[in-house]
Amino acid sequence: MATQTDPRSQIERYLLRLRAALGRLPDDEKAEILSDIRNHIEERLSDAAEGQAEIVTETIAALGSPESLAESYHRERLMARASVSAAPTALLHATFQWALTGLRGFLAFLVLLLGYSLGLGFLVCALLKPFLWNHVGLWLDPPAFSLGYISPDWHGARELLGWWIIPIGYTVGPLFLIWTTRLVQCLLRRRSAHSMEAL
């Protein structure tokens, strides 16, 4: 671009092309990006007392073409979606939001709830067994299995593991929590990859 061009219209033209190149990003994010870049150029301008046209040309050159800048934003967003937090609350929140959008999300949410419930169930059983030894464990009341506390007046159920619930609970419980976390992270990543391909 020629340095003689009016710096203001040069900035506006750059931002217009950037807006177009950002494509189908959410409107609020697009507006945020455009104001980031506008303010960056303004910041550069406020540093220089004179030669505004040169500063704008230099800054725009340093930012790269609007198309390559937009491509960097798209590429970085892909990486953002790829890194899914392992924190249970973050996973629950992300999967719950996904569940609201369709069957796959709902199934992923069920997997997460089931995996976490079983993991915590085994851990809690292992923890409580020494104190409530004849009420806590893994029970079989054909055809159903039940894990956890059972009422003293329920005589139909047979306990399956006895004191073995302690070592097994301390082993299987954490494994369920870890495997469920990894599985749901993997499902969320795959879902993100699919949704980003649509952009």
């Binding site: 994010e29 945020e32 990006i33 104001s35 980031d36 870049i37 303010n39 960056h40 303004e42 910041e43 550069r44 406020s46 800054t59 340093a62 930012l63 790269g64 390559s68 800048l69 960097s72 934003y73 590429r75 970085e76 967003r77 990486m79 953002a80 979606r81 890194s83 937090s85």
Partner: protein, 130 residues
């Protein structure tokens, strides 16, 4: 190319640029460790502390990703310059991530130092006579 470095021309295979690109996220998180900074101040901090020149078109997309990832938050502040400045602050997970990355970096650079020490100090190989 991601990074520009005027003092050192990139190696023919662009290895230098790739190496810097890989460390950029840690460098940006580290620059925010002591205080919140706006975009241009981050560029200056990296240049001032480590002599690392980062292309402007590289910084903002990374900051946008760090914000989406919840590692930084951003806030517009009136700086009395006629236009607002967007300050980036490390979040709790951002601090944890920076610590984790810094530890990984230290371990990796110590390993590499050990590995390349032969190249750096002896300057000789078995084929050398003398």
């Amino acid at each position: 190319m991601y990074m520009a470095n005027k003092s050192q021309p990139p190696a023919p295979d662009n290895w230098d640029a790739q190496l810097r690109k890989g460390c950029l996220e840690l460098a940006i998180l580290a620059s925010l460790w002591a205080e919140p900074l706006y975009g241009l101040a981050i560029l200056r901090a990296l240049l001032g502390r480590g002599g690392m020149e980062v292309a402007e078109g590289t910084l903002y997309p990374i900051l946008n990703r760090l914000r989406i990832d919840g590692l930084v938050t951003s806030e517009w502040r009136d700086a009395g310059t006629g236009h607002p400045r967007k300050y980036y602050t490390l979040t709790g997970p951002g601090r944890a991530k920076a610590r984790e990355m810094a530890a990984a970096w230290s371990a990796f650079s110590a390993q590499m130092d050990e590995i390349v020490s032969a190249v750096r100090t002896k300057g000789k190989h078995h084929g050398d006579t003398n």
